[in-house]
């Protein structure tokens, strides 16, 4: 029985042309994806220095509010708002608020309720932070 090969539906030339186009297109897309990835790289964002705490009226007179996101504590004294950084001036651990002041869980430094140094190894008191009220009545704490 004579058997004949059927004619291909695409010529060899067209197949090579198609393959070339496909490879170049896919390669180009991959290259573009790489370029997009390269140029869209973002370095780690620097830590924020301005914290909007919301309306000043939300903090009752005499209140002591821990601001974990700063970290700091906001004191509403009779006269003014005072913010103290909760970063220990010894090595930078976050101090904890206690009934009689603040304690560093890392090395045991102690501070009184006003943030004044009671015992080391820290060599100075907790750092006061700038507090301002914006025109819309929001409190802002600045870490620098």
């Amino acid at each position: 029985m004579n058997e004949r090969w059927s004619e291909p539906s695409i010529s060899r030339r067209d197949f090579l042309k198609l393959a070339r186009t496909a490879f170049l297109t896919a390669g180009g897309l991959l290259g573009l994806a790489g370029l997009w990835r390269f140029f869209s790289f973002q370095a780690e964002p620097s830590a924020p220095t301005d914290f909007d705490l919301g309306p000043a009226t939300a903090f009752a007179p005499g209140s002591r509010t821990v601001l974990a996101q700063v970290p700091a504590i906001l004191l509403n004294t009779d006269k003014d708002f005072v913010a103290l950084s909760l970063i220990c001036p010894h090595l930078g651990c976050t101090v904890e608020s206690k009934s009689d002041g603040f304690a560093c869980p890392c090395h045991g430094s102690r501070f009184d309720l006003q943030g004044r140094l009671v015992r080391g190894p820290a060599a100075r008191s907790l750092t006061p932070l700038r507090v301002e009220t914006s025109t819309d009545g929001h409190l802002h704490v600045y870490t620098s």
């Binding site: 393959a19 090595l91 930078g92 651990c93 869980p105 090395h107 102690r110």
Partner: protein, 417 residues
């Protein structure tokens, strides 16, 4: 020509595909900006599950690089680890100044108790000057027991002991064959020496030799896992850690060889120290660090000829004598070292006004307390167990006032072994 273009475009495609695959398999960087350095580091990309090394060194504050070194921005393990200090142990004394030093860390002022590096690198546990002097004297290589040589040459102009420098001990230059053998076989105990490979002896070097517990805290206690991978620092060192050097066996001075312990202890009393020793109950129920102070272990910053120049804790330190109560101090200064020590190992809640025992040199035994009824309380730094005891004064003790060594007390108070 067309065929070549197709082959080239295929090669280009597959190369780019391989690069995309390789990039996709890389871990997603996990950034950490420690509050102490403020510099981003990517170590947690691979080490995110690593346990905190201690409450005093939280990774959020310290990060990894300030202690370990390494390439903080690298994501390739080999590159990231290429410049680490001391390999896996940044507390090795060859790199400890860079790893653990600093005025606010461990190489600051003695006044603020930040001088641990100065103390430990001049301590007799690192210089080994006492053992070297003793062996050289015994075998005629020096005329007396004064230390002259150490495991490394060291200058210490501030030393108050009269010894301000030690030369390097080079065993091959020793006149006596026994001293040469000593150098060959016996220099494995000091803090900078690599330990025996057997697991019961394994410890790190430098500060980590003591402060990184590589042994279970009790005989037959739960395993600590692969000791070489332990990531922990503590001031609550169990006796088993001290035993990696102090209780492994003896050295045969005739052959200058190490003879491992022949016994196979199964309980704390028999495991605690050399099989030949006598103990009172407190000596084996407490851990070594419950009584022996940081100055005894780390030294006081001066160079010495013998461990007996720096070891001074005796029975009477806690129990007093027939005529004197043990020395105490009422805590009135919030900056007293006792508070610092109690913070690092909070087994007791010390308060101003508490009266604690102190050593003859005034070092606080901060885990002790004078109770209102005149007895004393001590809390185990490792076990947390509370022990109450009486002073000798006012008892029927028949001690010889002129003999206050442990051996004297053992005559009546030792436990049958």
């Amino acid at each position: 020509m067309r065929r070549l273009i197709v082959i080239a475009s295929a090669l280009l495609f597959f190369t780019l595909l391989f690069i995309a695959f390789w990039v996709s398999r890389r871990p997603k960087p996990v950034a950490l900006i420690p509050s102490l350095t403020g510099q981003v580091e990517y170590c947690l990309t691979c080490h995110v599950d690593l346990a905190e090394i201690s409450p005093s060194h939280p990774v959020k504050t310290f990060g990894c690089v300030i202690c370990h070194g390494g390439e903080r921005l690298a994501l390739d393990a080999n590159l990231a680890h290429s410049s680490m200090r001391g390999g896996k142990n940044p507390a090795d004394f060859s790199v400890v100044q860079a790893s653990c030093g600093g005025d606010n860390c461990h190489s600051g002022s003695a006044v603020t108790f930040h001088d641990e590096i100065q103390r430990s690198t001049t301590s007799i546990q690192d210089t080994y000057a006492g053992a070297i002097a003793l062996i050289r004297f015994t075998f005629g290589d020096q005329p007396d027991l004064l230390a002259r040589l150490a495991t490394r040459a060291i200058e210490d102009p501030q030393s108050t002991s009269g010894i301000t420098s030690l030369g390097l001990f080079v065993p091959s230059q020793a006149a006596s064959p026994s001293v040469r053998l000593f150098g060959q076989n016996c220099l494995i105990c000091h803090l900078s020496a690599q330990p025996y490979e057997e697991s019961q002896y394994f410890r790190f070097t430098g500060c980590a030799a003591c402060h990184t517990p590589t042994q279970p805290p009790e005989i037959n206690g739960p395993s600590v896992g692969d000791p070489a991978k332990i990531h922990k620092l503590t001031t609550a060192m169990p006796y088993t850690q001290c035993d990696t050097c102090h209780n492994r066996g003896n050295y045969d001075l005739r052959t200058m060889t190490f003879q491992p312990r022949p016994d196979n202890p199964t309980d704390r009393l028999h495991h605690y120290y050399q099989p030949i020793s006598e103990f009172t109950k407190c000596e084996y129920t407490l851990d070594c660090v419950d009584c022996h102070t940081r100055t005894e272990a780390m030294g006081d910053g001066s160079l010495y000829s013998s461990k007996f120049d720096v070891e001074y804790t005796q029975c009477r330190t806690c129990h007093g004598t027939l005529t004197d109560l043990p020395p105490t101090r009422t805590l009135t200064d919030p900056n007293d070292l006792a508070f610092r020590m109690a913070t690092l190992n909070p087994v007791v809640d010390l308060k101003l006004g508490d009266t604690i025992l102190v050593t003859a040199k005034g070092e606080p035994i901060w885990n002790s307390r004078l109770l209102p009824d005149g007895t004393y309380q001590m809390v185990g730094k490792v076990t947390g167990q509370t022990f109450t005891f009486r002073p000798v004064k006012g008892t029927g003790c028949k001690q010889d006032p002129s003999n206050q060594t442990a051996a004297s007390c053992h005559q009546c108070h030792s436990v049958q072994r």
